[in-house]
Amino acid sequence: MKKNLRIKLVFIALILFLIYTIMLNVVSGSIDLSYKDIIQGILGKRVFTELEHNILFKIRIPRIISAILFGIALSISGFLLQTFFKNPIVGPFVLGISSGARLFVGLFLLTNITIGFIKSPLITIFLAATVGSLLSMLLVLLFARKVDNISILVVIGIMIGYIASAGTDFMIAFANEHKVASLVNWSMGSFSGISWSMIKLSAVIIIPTVILVFLLSKPLEAYLLGENYAKSMGIDIKTFRIVLILLSSILSACVTAFAGPISFVGIAVPHLTRLTAKTSNPKILVPAIILSGASFCLISDYFARTLFSPTELSISTVTSFIGAPIVIWLMINRRKRI
């Protein structure tokens, strides 16, 4: 019973915090809009000026929605990888998966390759990122079969990340300036300048994927006991493994495609959530991670926008400052087991 109470409290706190971070992001920025103004505006008691309307609906709200979506996607992607590797130190960024996605997006942004019939540049970027994610994931898996030491695997992941970045830099050196500018902007990692069409596309990808992850709660829990036990309970391990990797790659690819590589969210959020809720049960953890992942990205984006305003930091700058120490702390605490 005590356990249930704790979980209820955690959910209440997470929901309140999410509401708070949304509000914070709505009101703060270069133009002051008070809570009162906004509430009155929404209720129709006050007419927004054109500027206010534009700021709200063309800048702030899309940005909030994308922070929520991408926060969820990164956190769930990290959660899946942690389940897969049975270790809390992995995430899409440290394993080099985000950088792999970036390399492939670079390939499309810097060259003129198009994929056959697909006209939409957004879908092209997303597909490129997915292919990049999957390829680097496969590379990591290949190494994972050789080394059973997770620290070494993380180092290998970081190396894969560097190689992918070097590949991207190589292409930049030979690309024309105008295209480079668009890549550099993109790869900073930012929720700014995200259009409604990007949001729609990512929602179409992220929401069903996350629902699918939630529906897989039962096998995900069994998987916590290791593949051999999971198999003995009746799970088709080979299929399940592919599903895990595919879902986590799609999620991190989607974020990388539209917001650039964002570091450490995938590690920090699932782990902190697990510690707070004190459970590994995916039925509880997945919804909790959805809430905390959204809040984490919202608060990080809030800091990115406001700390040195008018200069805007990249979101990765903020998430790294928060996330990297968590990873170090994790590694030190688990040294005995690694």
Binding site: K86, P88, L215, S217, K218, E221, A222, L224, L225, G226, N228, Y229, K231, S232, M233, G234, I235, D236, R274, K278, T279, S280, N281, K283, R337
Partner: protein, 393 residues
């Protein structure tokens, strides 16, 4: 019809067959133990039965249903496992771990019904794990973890439970507990159990059937009474020196090399510890006059230079008595274990008198002095120290 039938199983990996021609047949509720030296293929056979290693040839059927034709879920309803691998899931209580055993029975969301919860609690009770259930699994001791993993397998409610070396890493108390649990499961729940064990002496206590394996070949299969013989164990385990006494269930090291200087009057199990203590210090000894139904007889035979023994329940013949006198004559010391001199044991009393008459030093653990002039000791160790000092002089 047999409940479980493994026919001409060929087990191993793509390029390497580990064991060929494995045939097993079990009734419901029977316990099968796989026995053999490290690396003989026990684990591979078990992994093949649980489908963690693909079967290369032959067939395994449960109630005439081919296991390989079942869906994963159906299979899971037939077979639960306790593996050698140690798991340490994050943030899961022992109860959470046990509950995962209900997997094949719960709905798509894994919702535990009241019925499921009842079975989980019962399973935990069988392994005496009530006080563990709310603790985090990761921090339990090896023995506790093993019990919880068995509870997990129990609550899967499969007809067959496969355990790979369940006793390794367990100390003696937990081994006994574990075997008790297994016995309960087989007798009361008609659970068919297949497991590998390291301890030869435990196998005959728990198994209905034994599969004895040597170097990738089935050495023998059958009831432990037929299969586990001193000779079979010596051959399967390549015991050139020392041996395993299957009747007593213990291991003996090879006999010492030094000349015998001590004669031990044993019997009633009183001398076993003396034999061991002498053997450890490499002091050779003779022993007599024992009866062949005495446990001392087995040990003395294994460790001593000469054991003079009479058939059980009859008076000691003068032939044996004279033989004993002969060996006493060549000894420096006689050790009296304190065995009863009453009834057919009185010949040993005469031997003791004989030694004293001959001026041989007699050391005794006996409380009463019987009017004889021997030196009394109250511990084996002080006596052995004395013998050692004699030996050096």
């Amino acid at each position: 019809m047999k409940f479980l039938l493994g026919k001409d199983l060929r087990v191993g990996y793509q390029k390497r067959i580990v064991v060929d021609n494995v045939n097993i047949d079990l009734n419901k509720g029977e316990v099968l133990c796989l026995l053999g030296p490290n690396g003989c293929g026990k684990s591979t056979i078990l992994k093949t039965i649980t489908d963690h290693v693909k079967l290369i040839g032959g067939s395994i059927t449960v109630m005439e249903k081919d296991l390989n034709h079942l869906s994963n879920r159906e299979r899971a309803k037939h077979m639960s496992v306790v593996l050698t691998e140690r798991i340490s899931p994050e943030m899961m209580t022992a109860e959470d771990v046990v509950a995962t055993g209900r997997y094949p029975h719960t709905n798509h969301f894994g919702k535990l019904t009241n019925h499921d919860i009842k079975i989980i609690n019962e399973s935990i009770k069988i392994v005496n794990g009530e006080e563990l259930k709310n603790k985090e699994f990761k921090y339990l001791s090896d023995g506790e973890k093993q019990r919880i993993m068995i509870a997990r397998a129990i609550c899967q409610e499969a007809d067959i439970m496969v355990l790979d070396e369940p006793t390794s890493f367990l100390d003696i108390k937990y081994k006994v507990d574990l075997l008790n649990i297994i016995k309960t499961l087989s007798l009361e729940k008609s659970q068919t159990i297949i497991m590998s064990l390291h301890e030869i002496e435990l196998v005959s206590k728990i198994a209905d059937k034994v599969l004895l394996i040597k170097d990738g070949k089935i050495y023998n299969y059958g009831t432990p009474e037929d299969v586990i013989t001193d000779e079979a164990i010596r051959e399967v385990y390549n015991l050139n020196s020392g041996y395993f006494n299957t009747t007593m269930g213990n291991v003996e090291l090879p006999k010492g090399s030094s000349k015998a200087k001590v004669f031990v009057i044993g019997g009633g199990g009183r001398a076993t510890k003396i034999y061991r203590a002498l053997h450890k210090k490499d002091i050779g000894f003779y022993s007599g006059i024992l009866f062949k139904n005495d446990m001392d007889y087995n040990i003395s035979n294994a460790l001593g230079h000469k054991t003079i023994a009479e058939d059980a329940f009859i008076d000691i013949s003068s032939e044996k008595f004279n033989e004993a006198k002969f060996f006493i004559d060549t000894s420096q010391v006689l050790i009296d274990s304190g065995v009863s001199f009453k009834g057919i044991g009185k010949a040993n009393y005469k031997l003791l008198q004989y030694a004293l008459e001959k001026g041989i030093k007699v050391m005794s653990l006996r409380k009463e002095d019987l009017g004889l002039n021997f030196i009394k000791y109250d511990s084996i160790s002080s006596m052995i120290n004395e013998v050692m000092s004699l030996k050096d002089s």
